[in-house]
């Protein structure tokens, strides 16, 4: 299972039978690191282009072809900036804080199933692992706010932390729903349980409930990512820039990039749970199905993930912001009861055999 039976893994196994596991593991981790490094570069460019198109403009066009090198240039600039530590800030915690969200996203990326045999690791309790690791991101934000020695950063971090902790509950309940339906917590098994046609994807199953669960997942994960309409911590309110005010240079870049990779991870989980992961959509027409099967699985995974990422960006550039108390009200008094009712309804549907 680890590193799985793909072409490179088999080649290494034939060449170095006794060290194969070590070499394969190293290769998979390094390739994942490369992906995690290159992904935010692409995603930031995508965000700027998508935002521009929504706003009737065209976005960066000059740096590289259609602005593709823009985020590289921005990253380089951030690397060259001086790293300042505010007076009175706790040094260790101050510099530890940005590392936590970045490592959390990398850890969750490790178990995302990119293809049948392209997954760094597949723990049997993958879902629980995901929910647990998300806590690291929250910890990073809270530490950043506290260690900045800045009243307004602390307030921003507290707000952000409260928001993320609340919506994690809804997120966990939606994931629990999926575990309940599929009977397994391993991400690879969840994808494989959606084999068949397009209508076997969990978003279309359990008449109506799959779609409602997807909607709830989108709302909860948007709040987890601190994105609009839940970006009260990033907004210009409180006069400053939220928890990351005092950070500059590479520390700030780590927060910034972690946010975008987190977006990819949330979208990846959405496509894994609801949209069939790396499975090609089989729509019933023979010729098209055969063509779709020719396209490798990880291309489908990326396509579906980027579709969900487009949804995230669409939300951000359309909706106004929710106020903090409205946000909390939404979670505790609307989303959580709805989630519990959804769970009960799903259980009832399953007992009745209405999985469809």
């Amino acid at each position: 299972m680890y590193p799985l039976q793909n072409g490179i893994g088999n080649l290494i196994r034939s060449l170095f039978p006794e060290n194969a596991m070590l070499i394969n593991s190293t290769i998979s981790i390094i390739s994942l690191l490369l992906l995690v490094s290159l992904l935010p570069v692409f995603l930031i460019w995508l965000e700027r282009k998508v935002a521009a198109r929504f706003q009737a403009r065209i976005g960066p066009m000059r740096v590289g072809y259609h602005g593709l090198l823009q985020s590289t240039a921005d990253g380089l600039k951030l690397i060259f900036k001086e790293i300042l530590k505010p007076e009175g800030a706790d040094t260790f915690v101050f510099f530890l804080a940005p590392i936590l969200p970045a490592s959390a996203t990398f850890l969750v990326m490790a178990i995302l199933p990119f293809d049948h045999h392209l997954q760094v690791a597949d723990p049997a309790g993958g879902v629980i692992y995901v929910i647990g690791i998300s806590g690291l991101s929250i910890l990073g934000i809270l530490l950043a706010g506290w260690a900045s020695n800045n009243k307004y950063s602390l307030l921003g971090a507290m707000r952000s932390g409260a928001q993320m902790i609340s919506f994690e509950i809804s997120l966990a309940l939606v994931m629990l729903l999926i575990v309940m339906i599929t009977g397994t917590a391993s991400l690879r098994e969840i994808v494989l349980s959606q084999q068949g046609s397009v209508l076997d994807w969990w978003i279309f199953k359990l008449p109506g409930l799959g779609a409602i669960a997807f909607l709830m997942y989108m709302i909860s994960s948007t709040a987890e990512l601190n994105r609009a309409p839940f970006d009260i911590s990033e907004a210009e309110s409180e006069l400053t820039g939220g928890f990351a005010t005092e950070y500059s240079g590479i520390s700030f870049a780590m927060f910034f990039f972690a946010e975008f990779v987190n977006m990819f991870v949330s979208a990846g989980i959405a496509s894994t749970f609801f949209l069939g992961g790396f499975l090609a959509p089989q729509i019933g027409i023979g010729v098209i199905d055969m063509l779709f099967l020719l396209i490798p699985g990880f291309i489908w995974f990326f396509l579906k993930t980027f579709a969900v990422i487009f949804l995230y960006m669409w939300f951000r550039w359309t909706f106004p912001r929710l106020r903090v108390d409205q946000l909390m009200y939404l979670e505790w008094k609307m989303l959580l009861p709805a989630n519990l009712i959804l769970l009960m309804a799903a259980g009832y549907f399953m007992a009745m055999g209405w999985v469809l």
Binding site: Q55, P229, L239, R321, R323, V324
Partner: protein, 391 residues
């Protein structure tokens, strides 16, 4: 020795910023603090300093500090001739500069008994209503942006560019117009003016529907604005608010209807009035006002007459001794121009009654008891332009 024991409010070291009311220390929560929304701030629409007394997120009291953009316009006007002062009125509320010019020219016309030909009146009406729509478009875009929907800023400016381009062809300027003169305007409208105005009307009708879909009907926006910053009728009248702020509280007053100037009585338009006086009403009224301005434009374009664009130009503008006043309805409210003349080429005193100043004065009433995020919403819907407050 006489020792006074001064009761100190917790967390203040005995001094509080000026303007705030001293509270009874036993009733003050220990978590109160003062926050400065300094002159440079993204949501105060200009250089306005607000000092807030906050308890966590709740605003308890608010004191605005003005004067950061005071340029002495009224003083400068005393040393320039009457015609030269028209360009100063551009810079009061720069988003309604044509209407400001009009107010000032009306005062001069009343003083020197100058008539205005019919074509000039139609030009004035059309240009003023276009200016009103342009100002409201900027306000709409910025309101959305303050509330988090950043895209509205670009959408509002997209339509606004159409009108700005018309003005650029008309008078050469995009912001400080200086187009009107006593008796008319300094030039006639170009041939492309009417077709472009017709184009604007057509596009704006569709655009207003799009804006309604984007913001007005959005549940998040409604939750952020309904019930926030309720201004009662009595408060609105006693603080001297005008414009959409006053009309949203239920007072049916618009200078164009109640104290009409130019040829407004010959046009058929309504004055939308609100009932609750909250932010949503103020917002919705301004959207309705844009639709009504389009109505006026349609009627004006339909019956635009031929003729001269300005009555006979006088050799010298020396107002006879006395004081003269005119009122106009700018995009923000009632602008009053009061000129005291002594027969010289320069005025003795020019005083502008600015709508934004009175609208700002009600901010403490509105914001107290709401959260900090609501303050941003209230600022957006009060729609003041800080140079108009400071002059």
């Amino acid at each position: 020795m006489d020792l006074h024991t001064i009761q100190i409010e917790p967390g203040t070291n005995g001094t509080i910023p000026e303007g705030f009311t001293r509270q009874d220390p036993s009733k003050v929560s220990s978590e109160e603090y003062f926050l400065n929304m300094g002159p440079q701030h993204p949501s105060t629409h200009g250089v306005l300093r607000l000092v807030l007394r906050l308890d966590g997120e709740n605003v308890l009291e608010l004191v605005p500090h003005l004067g950061y953009i005071h340029r002495g316009i009224e003083k400068v006007a005393e040393s320039q001739t009457y015609l030269q002062n028209i360009h100063l009125t551009d810079r009061l509320d720069y988003l309604s500069s044509h209407i400001n010019n009009l107010g000032y020219c009306l005062a001069i016309e009343r003083a020197m008994d100058i008539g205005v030909p019919e074509r000039a009146e139609y030009i004035r009406i059309m240009v003023c209503e276009l200016q009103r729509i342009q100002s409201h478009l900027l306000w709409w875009g910025v309101s959305g942006m303050d509330l988090g929907a950043i895209t509205t800023f670009l959408y509002g400016f997209k339509e606004r560019e159409l009108i700005t381009d018309i003005f650029e062809e008309l008078c050469g300027a995009r912001l400080t117009m200086n187009f009107f003169r006593p008796g008319g305007s300094f030039a006639d409208v170009p041939d492309t003016f009417i077709p472009r105005v017709k184009n604007v009307i057509k596009i704006m009708h569709k655009a207003l529907q799009e804006y309604d879909t984007l913001l007005t009907g959005n549940i998040i926006f409604q939750e952020r604005t309904k019930g926030i910053g309720i201004l009662s009728r009595e408060n609105a009248l006693s603080y001297g608010c005008t414009g959409a702020v006053l009309r949203a509280s239920g007072v049916h007053y618009d200078v164009r209807k109640d104290d009409p100037y130019s040829i407004y009585p010959s046009f058929d338009f309504d004055i939308p009035t609100g009932s609750n006086g909250d932010c949503f009403d103020r917002y919705y009224l301004k959207m309705e006002e844009m639709a009504q301005s389009l109505r006026i434009l349609e009627q004006a374009v339909a019956r635009f007459p031929e003729g001269v664009y300005r009555s006979k130009v006088k050799t010298a503008y020396k107002l006879p001794e006395g004081s003269y006043y005119s009122q106009v309805e700018t995009a923000r409210g009632l602008l009053g121009t009061y000129i005291v003349a002594t027969g010289k080429p320069q005025p003795y005193r020019v005083k502008f009654r600015s709508p934004s100043f009175s609208n700002l004065s009600v901010l403490n009433e509105l914001a107290s008891g709401h959260k900090l995020a609501d303050l941003v919403t209230i600022l957006a819907t009060l729609d003041f332009v800080v140079p108009d407050i400071d002059r």
